[in-house]
Amino acid sequence: MIASLVRHPAFRVGVRDMAPVAVGTAAWGLMTGVAMVKSGMSLFEAVLMGVIVFAGSSQLAALPLMIAGAPIWVTLATAVCVNLRFVVFSAHLRPYFMHQPLWRRLVSGYFTADLTYVMFTHRYPQPGPPEDAPTLRAQEAYLAGNCAMGWGSWVGSSLLGIALANAIPAYWGLGFAGILALLGILSSLASSRLRVVSASVAGAAAVAAFALPLKLNILVAIAAAVAVCLMLEKPPASLPKAGGEA
């Protein structure tokens, strides 16, 4: 089954969409690998975390707590809060994945990090209809290719960071390449006026709410941006207009 996904033409499109961005996220993974080793983790622990957790912001949030010897539930609760945006994404992705059995939904969800979510919903604004097998197949193949590229570059660069931990000084700020990668994707999404409004509101709200603990400012920012955009949206054209307006 994996082989047929890989052979599907959409798989390569997914890889190609993620490839340029992976340069930036790899710089980020590199610095996360360095941070894990510098925090005093053993080689085995750092490699295990780099390979299986696959969530940079929750890894970076968990590290200081683990060093400080915080109780395990505190560390996990922190990671849940930092990851809450994924819960919002999962509501969006549900209709795309529900035709799959549970284990495949879990695999698809696990590998769908921020950028794959953004690229996948950008390429396929609507979920495939349940009876349209070729479209569903293409979406699965695109997602698989995009995830494979994203996961491979993240894990590969994390491992490289673990290996080179003592050779890369943090003050170089290589991790900023990750922010620039996100900035490029953001620019490519800014295709309508309301999308620009969404980004502006979210950016301002994330700064204003920055003092909130556990990166909850990100969740507040998404909620604020979505609410503002819904209010600014024109009513759907299919609805009869009230009062005979032009």
Partner: protein, 109 residues
């Protein structure tokens, strides 16, 4: 030295990744989001990106930056200028880093 609690914490973190990313499609009970929420979610991807990026560029230690001598701002401007000139995310990253690294490492901004 590898420690059992640390390994357990790491396994827990991986489980948190799965549960948060799959939250709304773990159960297969049929339900659909209300239409307004479905429309609203179309604005979520760009909002999430902006919410992550803007504080990383505009803030230092929890405060809005007050100095224009900040390599991140110039790098972001250079990156966006590249994107709207040539398109392409790779160019955005490279143009931004070409501005960022000299200012940051060279001038200490």
């Amino acid at each position: 030295m590898t420690d059992g609690w640390t390994v357990l914490t790491i396994l827990g973190l991986a489980l948190v990744t799965v549960i948060t990313r799959c939250f709304f499609f773990i159960s297969s009970k049929p339900w659909t989001l209300p239409a307004w929420a479905q429309r609203g979610l179309h604005y979520a991807p760009i909002a999430a990106l902006a919410a992550v990026i803007v504080p990383e560029i505009m803030m230092t230690q929890g405060q809005l930056i007050t100095s224009w001598q900040d390599a991140r701002v110039f790098a972001a401007i250079a990156g966006m200028a590249w994107f709207f000139w040539r398109r392409g995310v790779l160019g955005t990253i490279l143009a931004g880093m070409a501005v960022y690294l000299p200012l940051h490492i060279g001038l200490g901004w």
